[in-house]
Every structure is written in C-alpha cells, then in structure tokens.
C-alpha cells in the first residue's frame, strides 16, 4: 500500500497516469503552467523505451504526436492557453484523420499572454470550437489529483475507443496543487488498447471504412498496409473526395461517433444532489470550492448539492437536464464569463432558475465568493 502513495502536483499525477495508460510518445514545448509534464516525461519516457521530443513550437508538437500516433504509438502533448491556440489547426487534422491523441491544456488566464501563473477556466469553448469547421470533440476535466490520474487514463481510453483527439482541460490550481494520490496497481483501471485491423498483408485495407459499430480498426502507418491519410475530405481509402455523398457520410460519421455516444462518454460526480433544492454545477478546481461550500452548508441543514462535470464535451445535456429538473435553483461555478453556464441554460427546461457564480480576476474562486452569490440569489444579502 505504502509504495503506491505519492504526494504530487496535478501535473505529476497526469504524467503517472499517462505512463499507466501506456504512453509511448510525447512532443511538447515549454509553457507555464504545464511545463512540469514535459520535464517529467523527458526523464521518464526513455526509461521505459518511450520517446520524448521538445519541438520548436506548439504547432509542430501537435503535428509530431499525430505522426507518431499513426505509426501505432499512444501519444500526448501538454500546453497552456497560447500554445493551445497554436495547436488548433493540427487538432482539426487529428479530428479529420481520426488519429487518437491526448492534448492536455493546463488553463491559465487569457486572452493572449493573459495571466500565465493564475487560475482560469477560459478555454472551455476553445476546446469545443477552437479548430475550424464543424466537428465533435471530447474534453475531460478533473478537480483533484486522484481524479487527474483517473481522467488522464480515461482520456487515452476514449481517444482509442472513438479514434479521436481528447482534450484534458486541467487548470493552474489543479496542476500545481500538491496532494496525496494512490497509484492503482496495473490492471486496476482498465487501459484500452488500440483496435487494430485483422486484414492480412497483401489484402486491401480500407483505413476509413467504419465497421457496423462505427469503429475503424487501424493499421500502423508504415506497416503492412500502404494507405493515404489526408486532412481533405476523403473516401474509405483515405483519398480526397468532393463527392457530396461521401462528404456527407464522413461529416455524419465524425460527429455521430461522438455525439451519438454522449451517454457513454459522460462522466459526472454527484454530491448530495438527490434531495438538493440548490444545485451547484462545477468542474475542475472550481468543483473543489463548490464541494467545500456544499459540505459546509449541509452541516447547517441546507439542502444544497453539487454536480461535478468531469466530461465537458460532448456536453452531457440530458444528464444535466435530469439532475436540474426538480431543483429550485442551479448555480454554475466557474472561472470564466459563463462558458458552461450558457450550456446549462440551454440544457434545462427553465433557464430562469440558472445563475452564474464566477471569478475572472485571476484569483481562485473561493467558497466565500460562491456563498455570497448564493446569499444574494436566496434574497439574504451578503
């Protein structure tokens, strides 16, 4: 037991989990507050035969992991706001070519250089729509280091299952908070292996022909099958096509393979939510604040609960609607101008009962901040 206990930063928990999930290749570029992930992997990856490369910028980092993933490796990069912006075009290439990869974005204050060492959750919508064009995406979050571990493994698993980039949206507070985690034993958390084709050498392999269940078995690029990969709209061979029928089919496939599995992808933790009259919705480090407040007010007999979202995209609309159906008031706690608040208002039957409790000055949102919002909403005054 003792040897499995670690006292680590969120960034370190992410690294431990990535290695647990069989990470083999990392490319990155230094940027606060994500840099520890690159530093640790530079040390750890070659010890197990994996590869680390520091690229010349974030664009090339994202491109390099896509190249490595195509050859069959499990891959990851890590960055923060400005770097996340630079990765967007290549992220879209990974969406279009259905290349599994994990992109960790340790959020910091923005826009632009913003607040490099401060807390923010301002990249939620960029995770959803940062790359151009219609598409679906998976984004996960975590509020404590044990969950950073779990969600990092989950990110790799979902990435392989749905052949898609997965964005892990951490934030500065989670990334740099040190706390105890228990490392699971090998096998304790399932690790999804890449689904590979059974088509033998010398037989035609269609890299973009989905099976009946919508999944596309892969063949390691550079291996026994020769095929084309392109960011252009493409047919089942991976060759460019402008045929409307093929374009429509690919668009539907890219969106449906994720949006059609929202229920399976959704990760939500409910705390004291069953009988709650006031329901907080939070994610990432804001959920720590919200949970603290819930525990505190519950001890005073108030019917208050928390819905912690661990998956943000695809947005768990149905689950949020169900949880909010019978509550008096929903308060979304986040460190931005209401990026998830707006999603919640769209999800619930009565948007007038949804409020935003936010902090945007670079300070971490505190239980007192949220309590003050709550007291105003309840008509009790600050």
């Amino acid at each position: 037991m003792g040897k499995n206990l670690l006292f680590v930063q969120g960034n370190e928990a992410c690294v431990e989990a990535a290695l647990y999930a069989d990470l083999e290749f990392f490319a990155g570029y230094p940027i606060t507050p994500s840099t520890e992930i690159a530093e640790l992997l530079a040390y750890r990856l070659p010890r197990k035969g994996g590869k680390f490369i520091q690229m010349e910028d974030e664009m090339s980092s994202m491109c390099a992991i896509i190249g490595a993933s195509l050859t069959g490796a499990k891959v990851m990069t890590a960055t923060s706001g400005p770097g996340f912006s630079l990765m967007q075009e290549a992220l879209g290439f990974a969406v279009m070519t259905e290349t599994p990869c994990v992109l960790v974005n340790v959020q910091r204050g923005g826009p632009s250089t913003g607040l490099p060492t401060s807390a923010s959750q301002g990249d939620v919508m960029q995770a959803r729509w940062g790359t151009h064009g219609d598409h679906a995406i998976i984004a996960l979050t975590a509020s404590n280091n044990q969950d950073v571990f779990a969600m990092t493994v989950e990110a790799f698993n979902l990435s392989e299952t749905y052949r898609t980039p997965v964005i892990l949206l951490l934030d500065e507070v989670v990334a740099h908070t040190r706390e105890r985690i228990t490392l699971p034993e090998p096998g304790e958390i399932a690790v999804v292996k890449r689904l590979k084709t059974s088509v033998p050498e010398g037989t035609d392999y269609h890299p973009y022909l989905p099976r009946e269940d919508g999944r596309l078995p892969m063949s390691d690029f550079g291996g026994i099958h020769r095929y084309n990969v392109t960011g252009l709209m493409h047919d089942m061979w991976g060759f460019p096509s402008t045929n409307p029928k093929i374009v429509y089919g690919l668009m539907r496939h890219l969106v449906d393979k994720i949006e059609g599995h929202t229920k399976e992808i959704t990760r939500i933790k409910a705390f004291d939510a069953d009988d709650a009259e006031f329901l907080l919705i939070a994610y990432g480090s804001s959920a720590r604040t919200a949970l603290h407040l819930v525990r505190n007010r519950r001890a005073r007999g108030e019917k208050i609960g928390l819905l912690e979202l661990q998956s943000l995209w695809p947005f768990p609309t149905d689950a949020v609607r169900d949880w909010c159906a019978s509550v008096k008031c929903v308060i979304v706690v986040e460190m931005n101008m209401g990026q998830i608040y707006h999603e919640v208002t769209k999800a619930v039957d009565d948007a007038s009962k949804v409020f935003l409790a936010n902090q945007i000055n670079g300070n971490f949102i505190t239980p007192t901040d949220v309590l003050n919002f709550l007291r105003i909403i309840q008509g009790r005054g600050v």
């Binding site: 590869k51 090339s60 390099a64 190249g67 550079g222 020769r226 460019p240």
Partner: protein, 270 residues
C-alpha cells in the same frame, strides 16, 4: 536492378494529376521514383509526407505510405513519424511557400536535429495552388499577383539557409538536369541525416507568364543557360549563374540513433 516500371509506383486511379501542362513537378516525381527504384527500396519501406500546395499533391499519386498534412507542417509530422518508426525511409516533398515561408521554422529545426529525412524543396518561385502569389523565393523585381508593382522582398537562398541551419546534405539542381536530379536524390536518400534538395521547377502558368517566359520550354532553357555545376572554372567569371550540385555532405550523429542512446542510458536507471 529490375526493369523500371513507373506505373508500379503510382496510384493510377488518381491520374490525370492536377498539375498544369508544362509544370516541373511531375519531372521531380518521376525522378523520385527512379531514385527509389535505383536504390532498391521496397514500396513498404518508403513514406512520403507532404504539406499543402501543388507539391503536396504528389503524396496522393505515389503508392507508398502517404501522409498529406497541413500547410507548412509536413516536416513536423514527419519528425514524429520518423522518431516513432525510424526504419522508414522518409521523403518530404514541399513547395517553396510550404517549406520556406509557413514551414520555415520546421525546416531549420529539422536541419538542426539532423533527423534522417529527405526534404525535397520544389522551388517554382510562386504560390501555384492559390493562383500565383509571391513566395519567399520570388526574386527582387519579379512580378506576381500580390506584387503587381514588382517584388521588393528579397528571395531566400535555400541552399545557404539549409547549410546555415545545419543540414548535413544540401544540394540544388533543376528539372532540366533530370539525370543529375536522380543521382542527387539517390545520394540524398542514402545519406544518414537531414537532406535538403532544392529543385528549381518551372511554373509556366503563374510564374513564367508574369515574368517574361513565353513557355515551359523557355523556362527549362533558362535553367540550362543560367545554372552552372558547382566548382566549375567558369563560375568565378559568371557569378550571376546559379550553382548546381552537392554543397554539403557530411556525417554527423543522426537524431533517431542519438535518441536510441538516450533510451539505453535512461533504461540503465541513471
């Protein structure tokens, strides 16, 4: 060596290609195929990674492992690919805009790392795919759609750039000098390290038309009369001529091999 059948190396169903009549890019593709054939490489051993532009379409036409990526970043994808699967022979055909403007940073860093990739810069002095805009190799005083009053930007010297960045094999030739092109490509591919081959390639449609070349033949004739083999005596008397040949060929530690040593050291648990 078996008899060459070019058709064995191309994906015929995607022909005819999109290149304009008179374009030099097909000549370069033909030379690449011949070089690969002469070296006895198997199709399954070769990967072609391209970016965006007229040059990039080559990936789709060739029956190797082919990856058609995003503008300027072909070398970044290729770096990940090569480091993850070092046994592959990697060729990265790029245009001058792709390699030297949007992708310039990746070019110099790939050169600095000396990763075993052959970069083929198909320099036609113009952005062809988008209709003839000025590129980083459009000459001073030249005309293009975005320099209608004449170009005031100075052109990159691709060879000097590659040498300065540390590429361990740097060569230049033209689509007129096809035999030389094939030989240079063979040497570049065989070279263990980062190779840059600049091939002057005519674009009669967009560059030639605006710059007093009546035809592709005129442009090829220009390559014949305005270039000179590297180190020839006539060179000193005619500095305006463009030098062709191998400028640098040196053995330096290759990146993937160096990383293998890192793994060896690290796995001993230092």
């Amino acid at each position: 060596m078996s008899k060459l059948t070019v058709r064995a190396y191309i994906r015929e169903r995607f022909f005819p290609h999109i290149w304009c009549p008179g374009c030099g890019h097909g000549t370069i593709m033909g030379a690449m195929i011949r070089a690969i054939h002469h070296l006895g490489l198997k199709k399954k051993d070769v990967a072609v990674v391209s970016g965006i532009g007229c040059s990039a379409r080559m990936a789709g036409y060739l029956d190797f492992h082919t990856l058609h990526t995003i503008h300027g970043r072909a070398l970044a994808f290729a770096t990940g690919l090569k480091l993850s699967r070092p046994e592959l022979t990697l060729l990265v055909p790029m245009g001058d805009g792709d390699a030297l403007a949007i992708g310039g940073n990746h070019l110099i860093h790939a050169a600095r790392r000396n990763i075993d990739i052959t970069a083929i810069i198909m320099n036609n002095n113009v952005y062809g795919m988008t209709g003839g805009q000025a590129s980083p190799t459009t000459g001073y005083g030249d005309y293009a759609s975005t320099v209608p009053y004449g170009n005031i930007d100075r052109a990159f010297d691709t060879v000097k750039l590659a040498v300065g960045a540390g590429a361990t094999f740097v060569a230049r030739t033209t689509t007129y000098h096809v035999t030389e092109l094939i030989t240079i490509l063979e040497k570049a591919i065989r070279h263990k390290g980062f190779s840059v081959v600049e091939v002057l390639s005519q674009c009669p449609t967009y560059y030639g038309r605006r710059n007093d070349f009546a035809s592709a033949v005129d442009m090829l004739t220009y390559y014949k009369t305005h270039t000179i083999p590297l180190g020839s005596k006539k060179n000193a008397e005619t500095p305006e001529l463009i030098e062709r040949g191998i400028f640098i060929q040196q053995e330096k530690p290759e990146y993937c091999a160096e990383y293998d040593k890192i793994i060896e050291t690290a796995s001993k648990g230092r």
